[in-house]
């Protein structure tokens, strides 16, 4: 029973990533980075994009890259749903922490002015 189970686990891993898939994720990551450079070196200096909107785009593209690395390179997308949730749900705390601390930082700036 337990031997069977291990064999199954290895079989699942096999199904996850092929060489072709690995290289396509690489091109996605490289492409996203290229877009970030385009924003930083062309779109913002030429005034096509504002700094504020540029920053929003940077963060969105960063989270997209993070998704590709965690889901495909770290293989999390192909794990059991219980493992996926036990890793992803605690990271929700980070989002709250970011919001609270940026709000607090902004408040510090206003009392300094």
């Amino acid at each position: 029973m337990s031997d069977n189970h291990t064999a199954e686990a290895h079989h699942d891993d096999h199904a996850g990533m092929t060489k072709k898939k690995i290289w396509s994720v690489f091109w996605v990551l490289l492409g996203i980075t290229a877009i970030e450079f385009l924003i930083a070196l062309v779109l913002i200096p030429k005034g096509i994009l504002g700094h504020g909107f540029g920053n929003v785009l940077y963060i969105a593209l960063t989270l997209l890259k993070a998704f590709y690395i965690v889901a495909y390179f770290m293989h999390l997308k192909f794990e059991k749903v219980g493992l996926i949730y036990s890793i992803l749900i605690p990271t929700m705390f980070i989002i709250f922490f970011v919001i609270w601390m940026l709000y607090e930082g902004n408040y510090w700036m206003h009392i300094r002015l």
């Binding site: 990533m17 092929t18 060489k19 690395i69 390179f73 219980g82 970011v98 510090w108």
Partner: protein, 227 residues
């Protein structure tokens, strides 16, 4: 009655009723995931402190001015060098996942080949970081010293350099540890340890660590060099 019994049997065979791992992963791999989760909290704390301090400042040094040098180019090349560093780290993540893939096929020579490339990528990244730190140090930047002006021309606090060297230093230390661990795994691959064991799960576990280092760099890159 018979239906009731079969229903009870069905309940007992769910993944959470014991007898097997509900996550269907090896113990060491699950523990690596939970270690990485805790490490994610550590890096988040550092980056959030950076964000809070930056939000509390009326102005901040312009990254396109601070990071405008590359070897052989004194100034006027913003993002070029860090672009190379980012490319190196993404590339080494790819070679790592190729090593894992070869491990599933139990192709020892191929695992070793990709592990060698991963180690080379890690060393190249560390070399780049050493160059960048040395260059910034020559310009007078260090913990407690900030030669760069704010974007609006005012004198900047040392928060910028303190956070930069602490966070990239902590990340660089992770890369260094990763290279050391990758070398140990490479030696075990070449020595046939995993061939005898019948599986290359250890390559997968260090792979998770290595991808995490790449993941952290993605965030450091955005928040120090772009935003």
């Amino acid at each position: 009655m018979t239906t009731n019994t079969s229903q009870l049997d069905e309940i007992k065979s769910t993944p959470w009723n014991g007898g097997r791992s509900p996550f269907n992963v090896e113990y060491g791999k699950m523990m690596m995931w939970f270690f990485l989760l805790s490490d994610a909290f550590t890096f988040s704390a550092l980056l959030i402190a950076y964000g809070a301090l930056r939000f509390s400042s009326t102005s901040w040094p312009d990254p396109d001015v601070v990071f405008q040098s590359a070897p052989g180019i004194a100034h006027g090349a913003p993002l070029v060098f860090v672009g190379i560093m980012t490319f190196i780290l993404i590339m080494s993540s790819v070679t790592m996942v190729l090593a894992v893939e070869a491990g599933h096929r139990k192709a020892k020579a191929e695992v070793a080949k990709w592990m060698v490339w991963t180690v080379i990528g890690g060393l190249a990244f560390l070399g780049c970081q050493a160059w960048e730190w040395t260059h910034l140090h020559h310009e007078g930047a260090w913990w407690g010293h900030n030669p760069f002006l704010n974007e609006d021309g005012t004198v900047a606090s040392t928060n910028f350099t303190n956070l930069f060297f602490t966070i990239t230093g902590f990340h660089g230390f992770h890369v260094f540890s990763g290279v050391v661990i990758n070398i140990i795994i490479l030696i075990n691959v070449l020595g046939g340890t995993y061939e005898r064991r019948g599986h290359y799960d250890m390559v997968e576990k260090v792979g998770l660590y290595w991808h995490f280092v790449d993941l952290v760099w993605v965030f450091v890159f955005t928040f120090f060099y772009l935003v």
